[in-house]
Each structure stands twice: as C-alpha cells, then as structure tokens.
C-alpha cells in the first residue's frame, strides 16, 4: 500500500489556493486596465500575454515543486510575494479607475442636486411649515430641476399647498422675490455666488434667508454622445469653469489631430445671446444658461457659433489648486503684479501675491491668476487670455509629465470637481497618438501642439429689467467677431466651408522672427444696437471714468431724438461738491439702463465753477468765450473792430515818444485790463495804448522858403528819417518859376491831403507841425518855363505855367 504524505499534499493544496488567488487578481487586473488599451495596443497585448505566461509558469512550478518540501515552501514564499505585488498593482489600478470614474460622466448621469427654498426680508417664514399658502416661484422650464420638478416634488412629499407663480428664468424669479411678487423661491444651493456678480444684487441677496434645504439624487439625461476617434477626427470641447456655482469661464476649444492645432475661443460670461432653452430663445447672459442645465449651455454655445459641441469638460475652480499642485508648478506670465483672492470660499481673502512677468506658479497662484479681473488691464478680456494661458500651461505640463503618481494624484484631486463626457479610452487613444507623434518630431514637446487663441469680442452695455427697474451689465458680441471665430473654428475642424490658401513657396530668415497669427480683434465697426442709457453719475464703487458734459454731448450726437437740458451747479448751490470735476455730470433725470429709444428728454446737472481764463486749457470753455483779448500786438483797426462788436468799451491812448518805434506805429503796446479777463468782470472802459505817428515841427518856414535847396531838404530828411514815413522823393515837387534867382530853391512848403493842397506855410503861417505820415511837400523851382507850341495847359499839383 502506497504511503500518502498528507502534510505534503496539504502544502501543495495551499500553494494551489495561493496560485488560484494570484490568477484571480491577475484576471481582475486585466479587466480593470482594458479601458486603457488604446494607450498602446502592442504593449498591452505583450503585457497580457506575459501575465498569462507568468500564471502558467507559476502553475508549472507549483506542480513541479510539490515533490520536495523545501521547494514547496520556496514556492509558497514566491506566491505570497506575487500576490502582494499584484494586489498592490490592483489597488493602484482601482484607485486610478475610481478617480477617472468620478471625472467621466456617461450620457445619462446620476447627480446629487441640492435645492434651497429662499425668502427675501421676510420674518414670517422661518421654516418649510410656514411656506404653506404662500406665493411660490417656479421656473417654467422642464429642464430646470431645483426651480421646478425637485421643488414641486418636495412640496408634494410634505403636503404643502402653495400658489405657483411662473417665471422664465432663475434670474427673473429672483427678481420677483426681491420685488415681493412671490414669498419663496426654490433656487440652487449656490444661488448666492451664482448671482452676486450681477450689478446691484448684493444688497438684495444679503437680505435673503434659506428656510429649507434638501438634496436628491437625480438621473440627468444628456444627449447621446458621438464617440469619435479623437486621433483621427477633429473635435470640439466646451470648457466650462465654475466658480461657486457660477459659470465664469466658457471656452470653445477645437483640436485637429491632423494639424495638431488647438483653437481656444473664449466667450465672455456676460455675453448677451439667445439662450437655447428659453422660450423663443430669449436673450440673456450666456452663463445664466448653466443655471437651467449643462445641456442648455452646450446648445446655446452651439447655436451662437453655429458649430456642434462634441464634448464638454466642466471644472470647478476648487480643483485647480490640487490638480496643479499634483502635477507641479506651471510657468505662467502675468501682465501685472497683484494680490489675488485665495481658494477659500470666503470672499475678500486677498492673500495670494503674483509678481509681474514669467514665473512658476503654485496651485493657489494659478487659481488667483485665472480668476483675477479687477487688476488686469482690460478686465474680463485680459482674464480670458489669462485663462487660455493657464490651459496652455496645464496641457504642456500634462504632455511633459511622465510621473504616474502625479497623474493619479491629479485625477484624484479632480474628483467630483471635474466632469467630462469624453471617455477614458478616447482620452487614452488621443494621448497615445499625440505623444507618439510628438516623440517623432524634432520639436520640443511643449511646442508640438500649436495653440491659436481667440475670443468673441463685443461691447459692454446694459439690459434693463422692467420689473425691478434694475439694469444688468451685459456684453454684446460683435457679429463680425462671431463670424471670424466661426471661420477659425471651421478652419481647424476642416469643415465644409474650409477655404484653401494654396501657398506655393516658402522662405525664412532667423533675423525675422515669426510671432504667429493674431486672431483677436477687439473692435468691429458695427452699429451699437438696443442701447440703454449709460450711468452718467459719479460712482463710488465702479472704477469708471467720470462723464463730463462734452462726453454726454458726444454720446447724444448719434441719438439726436433725445433733447438735453443742462442745469449748472455753481459753488453757491447746496448740491455743489468741490471733489467733482468741472463739467462733471452729477445727476440725470432718466435712470441708467433705460432703452434710449424710449427717451425723448434728458435733464442733467453738471458741476460749474469759475475758471481762470488765463490758463490756456480753460480757454476752450464757454466761460472763456467772452473775455478781454490780448490786444498787444494787434493793430488799431483790429482792436477797433473788436470794440465795435463788444459795445464800444475801448478808449485809445496814443503814445509817441518813449515807446516809439517806426514798425510799431498803429500797434497796441499795452492795455489797462489784463488779457483773458472775463468781460463780465470788467468795470468801465478799457484803455488801449497804441503807438502813434511822431510829430515833427519846423518852427519858421521863412528860413526855408527861397533858401533851401534840394540838398538842404535831403539833409533834413536824413536827420528825421525815423519819423518820416515816405520816401525822400515824395517830399519834393519840382515846378518852373518865373523868377530865375529862385531856380533850385524852395519856393513853397505846403501840406497835402489826397493830392490836394490843404495848407500853405508862409510868413503869416510860419510854424509847421505835422505827423510823420503827413504829405508835406517842398516845391522847388526849376527856373523859368520854356514856351510850348500848345500854351494853356499846366502840369503838377498847384504848379503854374508861364505863358
């Protein structure tokens, strides 16, 4: 009879059990990693084959070693080690899968939805029991959960009867609550942070109370996702960044695996566009669409850009800090230095310092940088570019990271804060393809995928809410910008309207660097439509330029149907405030936000104060229109013309001796009232001093008559040349004279006016006093005249002829 070694059989049995356990762990591990198959089919097949062979090898060894006790024990040890290693690997894989599973959502997903019943400044409703019989708001849209079906179910489950009042949107329902049209509004739990960004809401929101709160798991049905092969087909992803329940970031991204180009098109959160799930696609801020549902946002963006949204990636900002810290710091270039808000939920925690320029940023810094709007030049527009920069840096980091632990840690950090309908096999396939092509390229990894940044530009405006008399700050996209964005997107997706450029040659020069294409255009020459009245009044909180009278007039130029009445507020008026600028608007009769089409008259009050017109900058002002000019240098005629036009308030004073200069004659050299003095401040006459012609005097004409020759006259002329205003020759008249002894002598001295002798000087009138410009003439005898064939005609003024 053969002896049976029971102990040995027992050991072999244990080893077979351990092998079975190892085999089970191996099989479970294979099933858990199947979804990553697309990372590398070849390596996966090799890996699975190797695992199978290891199992076969272990089984053979268990059987072979069953004969010897020592070998059996060694085999037991090997199996324990193998089970330990494979268990650790399986746990690691499960960790990854759990993390990924939290991020990836299927088309129909179960989400935990929290709803708050909210009252406004109402002490009578303090709990759900007080809601009975009250007016209860409801959003009239079947896609809405918190504000519709969940609220109704909750009321029904508690047998509470209410009067329902329907609204189109959460925003309108909230406004209805503020205006006391309703007593209770069912809102998403994060309603405060969702609406706090709306102008003027804060003071109302602060008076709201949550009287009841509940959570329910709801199956959300999404549209069926088309499972594209991302390594072969271009696709689009809508990136949604949520901050405290509010969608602050919307970026429509496209990727073409055949061009390795990513386009990022930012859409301002306040973009005022048709909302797909509103009745008649009514317009509203685009981020309000997320309050209805994620699908509503996807459809709205799709309609706006006329492009399909293939996939979405929704990120809560809370995840950014941990994801970045898991992967390592990001290299980001900040256009300014600032201190930003940290990741805590409390507002006003400005503890994160960001330097100006390129730097490695931690998770907290990246979050603060992506959120920052107020300190950025260009505000929200710059923030959009900053967010695109963060995405670029994050993608670069992801492509560069080879540390599996970092990936797992990042995926776990993302957790419930990141949602996407991209499947893990799609992402794995895409990563495998991109990394493969990237490794084959001469380019550094961070530059291999080219990013083209764009944004939908527009202009800021207001949309007026009639029920609350409250305007909403909105951003109206330019049609041209939307068209340009569509063109870029279509180019990358290689859609039907792709237009080839057919470049047929190429050159380059390293001395002429290429900075890439610029798609961002901030301004389009389009008519501003549906425009509401701006807020002209001074703001204590807004960082806006004050409106001056000239600004208002310029704004009204294109709105000629509005009549403007201006009331001036001077220093003596109680409304006067010295801190305001001259001509600054301090009140307006029509509230801002009202559609200009409905306004016919606008009354404004502006600050006025006395201006010093001597200051050059003030002289264009109306106050300095009636001022005493600077007469100095003006001619007497110019001054006189002004004088006649201004009520004859000038008296002229002539001066000759002390300030006389020949070139200054008839020019003003001083004035009794300062130049640029307001006319209303002038009392009495203004004395203006002009330079007059000098006075000359010949005391006794008898010393000249019959004595002076032409030479004497020239000597006299030279002596008084500065005071005489005519040429020497014009003082001389040569005339014949019958007396031959007087030939060449002065026979007459006379004063002429307009060529006519008006005064003759002789013994009875010997003193000659005349102005420098007087027409004084010395008549010199040319001797007796020669008879002519035609007697009786004479020549020369005052001249005589002899028969």
């Amino acid at each position: 009879m053969k002896k049976v070694n029971l102990k040995s059989k027992s050991n072999e049995f244990i080893n077979l059990i351990l092998f079975g356990l190892f085999a089970i762990i191996s099989i479970v591990s294979v099933f858990n990693i199947l979804q990553y198959l697309s990372l590398s089919y070849t390596l996966f097949i090799y890996g699975i084959a190797m695992l199978v062979l290891i199992n076969v090898l272990v089984f053979i060894l268990v059987r072979l070693f069953s004969k010897k006790k020592v070998l059996e024990m060694i085999m037991t040890g090997i199996l324990v080690v193998l089970i330990g290693i494979s268990s650790y690997a399986l746990i690691y894989i499960v960790r990854i899968n759990n993390a990924v599973g939290n991020v990836i959502v299927s088309d129909d997903v179960v989400e935990n939805i929290s709803t708050s019943f909210v009252t406004y400044d109402n002490t009578k409703i303090t709990s759900i029991d007080d809601v009975s019989g009250k007016k209860f708001g409801i959003v009239d849209n079947e896609n809405v959960l918190e504000g519709n079906s969940l609220a109704i179910e909750e009321l029904e489950s508690k047998n509470i009867d209410v009067t329902f009042i329907k609204y189109d949107t959460y925003n309108n329902m909230l406004l209805g609550l503020f205006s006391r049209e309703i007593d209770v509004a069912p809102l998403p739990k994060e309603y405060y942070s969702m609406f706090i960004a709306n102008d003027g809401y804060e003071e109302y929101l602060d008076k709201t109370e949550v009287v009841h709160e509940f959570s329910k798991k709801v199956k959300i049905e999404g549209e069926e996702t088309v499972r594209k092969d991302l390594s072969k087909e271009p696709f689009s992803v809508l990136l949604m960044g949520n901050d405290g329940g509010r969608t602050d970031t919307l970026i429509y991204a496209t990727f073409n695996p055949k061009t390795m180009v990513v386009t990022l098109t930012s859409i301002a959160r306040d973009s005022y566009v048709p909302i797909s799930c509103y009745t008649d696609q009514a317009r509203d801020k685009i981020n309000h669409s997320r309050q209805i549902s994620r699908q509503c946002t996807l459809d709205t963006v799709s309609n706006l850009l006329d492009e399909k949204v293939d996939y979405f990636l929704e990120v809560n900002f809370d995840a950014v800090v941990d994801v970045v810290d898991s992967l390592g710091k990001l290299w980001i270039d900040s256009p300014v230095e600032f201190v930003g808000q940290d990741s805590s939920e409390d507002r006003g925690h400005f503890t994160v310092w960001i330097a100006k320029g390129g730097q490695f940023m931690t998770g907290e810094q990246v979050l603060a940088f992506a959120r920052e709007r107020k300190n950025m030049p260009g505000g929200d527009l710059q923030r959009q570019l900053n967010q695109q920069q963060v995405i670029r840096a994050l993608l670069t980091k992801l492509l560069e990271t080879r540390d599996t632990n970092a990936f797992v840690s990042a995926a776990e950090s993302a957790g419930d804060n990141v949602k996407t309908n991209l499947s893990i096999s799609q992402l794995a396939g895409l990563a495998n393809y991109v990394i493969g092509e990237m490794n084959a390229s001469e380019l550094d990894n961070s530059y291999f995928v080219q990013m083209k940044n764009n944004r939908i530009s527009g202009y800021f405006s207001w949309a007026y809410n009639d029920s609350l008399q409250l305007p909403l700050s909105i951003y109206k996209p330019y049609n041209g910008s939307i068209a340009d964005a569509r063109a870029l997107i279509n180019r990358n997706l290689m859609g039907d309207s792709y237009v080839p450029t057919n470049h047929k040659s190429f050159t380059f020069n390293i001395y002429t660097p290429y900075y890439g294409e610029n798609f961002i255009k901030d301004y389009y020459d389009e008519a501003e439509v549906h425009d509401p009245l701006p807020d002209f009044m001074p703001s204590m909180t807004k960082e806006s330029e004050p409106w001056l009278l000239a600004d208002v007039k310029a704004w009204l130029q294109k709105r000629s149907w509005i009549k403007l009445n201006v009331t001036e507020i001077w220093e003596t008026n109680p409304k006067y405030d010295a801190s305001y600028l001259y001509n600054q608007v301090i009140s307006q009769s029509v509230k801002y936000g009202v559609k200009t089409a409905n306004i016919t008259q606008l009354n404004i009050e502006i600050i006025k104060r006395e201006l010093d017109c001597k200051i050059v900058e003030n002289r264009t002002d109306e106050q300095c229109k009636s001022i005493v000019p600077n007469f100095i240098g003006m001619t007497r005629k110019e001054v006189n013309d002004w004088n006649l036009a201004n009520g004859n308030i000038i008296t002229f004073k002539e001066t000759t001796e002390s300030t006389y200069k020949r070139e200054n004659v008839n020019t003003v050299i001083s004035q009794s009232v300062d130049a640029y003095t307001k006319l209303k401040n002038v009392t009495g006459k203004i004395e203006v001093t002009v330079v007059a012609y000098p006075t000359l005097e010949i005391t006794d004409v008898l010393t000249i008559l019959n004595t002076w020759t032409k030479t004497d006259i020239e000597n006299w002329f030279q002596l008084n040349k500065d005071k005489l205003f005519k040429e020497f020759s014009s003082y001389i008249i040569e005339e014949p004279n019958s007396d031959p002894t007087l030939t060449g002598k002065v026979i007459t001295v006379a004063l002429y006016e307009n060529g006519v002798e008006v005064e003759k000087y002789n013994a009875s009138n010997p003193k000659i006093t005349f102005k420098g410009n007087a027409d004084i003439r010395f008549v010199i005898s040319t001797g007796p005249s020669t008879p002519t064939p035609d007697p009786g005609t004479g020549t020369g003024d005052g001249g005589t002829t002899t028969p």
Binding site: L53, N256, K258, T259, V261, S441, S505
Partner: protein
C-alpha cells in the same frame, strides 16, 4: 516521471515565450534606436531619416552620410544639407498632416519653433486638407535637387556667437502626377547656412 517530463517541457516553452515577449517589448520601446541615423565622431545623432522617406530622400540621405563619414568638404556638406532639406520639406506625399513638417532637422535648431510654426501656418497650412481631399500620394514629391553653387561665405554673428557661413543655391523638380498641378510651386532657392558646433544648418533662404 512522464508527468514531470511534460511539466518541464511546459516550463521550457513558457520561459522561451517569456523571453520572446521581453525581446519584442524591448524592440517596441527602443524602436527609434534602430532607425537609420547619421552620427558624428562622438556618436551624437546628427540626422535621421524617417521610415516613410521617398526613394530619392533615401538616396540623398546616403549621400549626406557619405559626406560626413568620409569627411567631405564643408561645401559638399552644406550642399548635401540643402538637398536633404529641399527633398523633405517640399515633399508632401509622405506626410501625415499639417504638423508633419519635413526638413526641420536641417534648419537652425535654436529657432526651430519659429520656423516650424511659420511653415505650419503658411506653406503647410492646407496639407491636411489636401491629404483629405486629394490623397497624400497625389501631392508634391521632389524628384531631383541640383546644387548649382556651394561655397564658404562671410562669418556671421547671431546672439553673440560667430559662425562660419555658407552660401548654396539649388534648383529642384517635382514628380509629375495626375490630379495635382505643381505649376507655380517653388523650384529654386538661395540658402545661407552656418556651421554650428560641427552641424551645418540652414538659417535663411529665399527663392521662387
């Protein structure tokens, strides 16, 4: 004993298969290592040729390899670099898409990103579209490159470094294919190259 024999045979077969898989995995991971490359004296890879290069590209890559290994003249080296650049850059028939820009290993490496993006946004911009609509095999393919001049040029300074430069002119032709008209596509160029640490690279060129 028969049972043991079977187990031992199974063990040998299993171990053999495992060795084969390890070898295959090693080859898969080190695939690039086995590609055709040109190395300098220190064993540093200067250039490599892709597996889907055209026959002409393979031919002139061998020429370049000969010039470097047989220590040909710098003028020959510069001319061969231009030949290989033109044959790769202006051949679209073996490209995978707009991103697959040929000849980038022959350009001035510190500025490769600028040159790459410039080419991608212009000359290569429609490549993916053309592949999609016409098929890659019907697109541009350089048939022959002729170096018409190649010589030393003045030393140049760039970013504080002095480089020996070369001047090369070249003409080239395309394979005529039905369905793609090569008329108007660039067929000549004047190239300026520099010797950067023993590797000659193109830093600018003009042409029509």
């Amino acid at each position: 004993m028969k049972k043991n024999k079977l187990l031992i045979i199974g063990l040998i077969v299993t171990l053999s298969l495992m060795i084969i898989i390890v070898a295959l995995t090693f080859f898969e991971l080190q695939r690039d290592y086995f590609s055709n490359t040109i190395k300098n004296a220190e064993g540093k890879v200067l250039y490599e040729i892709s597996s889907n290069a055209t026959e002409y590209q393979k031919l002139i890559f061998t020429e370049l390899s000969d010039v470097i290994e047989n220590e040909g003249t710098p003028q020959e080296y510069a001319g061969s670099v231009v030949k290989n650049y033109v044959a790769d850059f202006y051949t679209w028939s073996n490209k995978k898409g707009t991103y697959d820009i040929g000849g980038m290993q022959y350009v001035y490496q510190p500025e490769i990103v600028n040159i790459y993006n410039y080419a991608k946004d212009f000359f290569y911009r429609d490549l993916s579209y053309n592949i999609q609509t016409l098929g890659a095999e019907n697109l541009l393919e350089v048939e022959n490159v002729e170096i018409t001049f190649s010589d030393f040029n003045a030393k140049i300074e760039y970013n504080g470094q002095m480089y020996q430069s070369f001047y090369v002119t070249a003409n080239w032709t395309y394979v005529q294919k039905e369905g793609f008209d090569t008329t108007g596509y660039q067929t000549s160029g004047e190239f300026s190259l520099i010797d950067r640490d023993g590797k000659i690279e193109i830093y600018r060129y003009y042409g029509e």
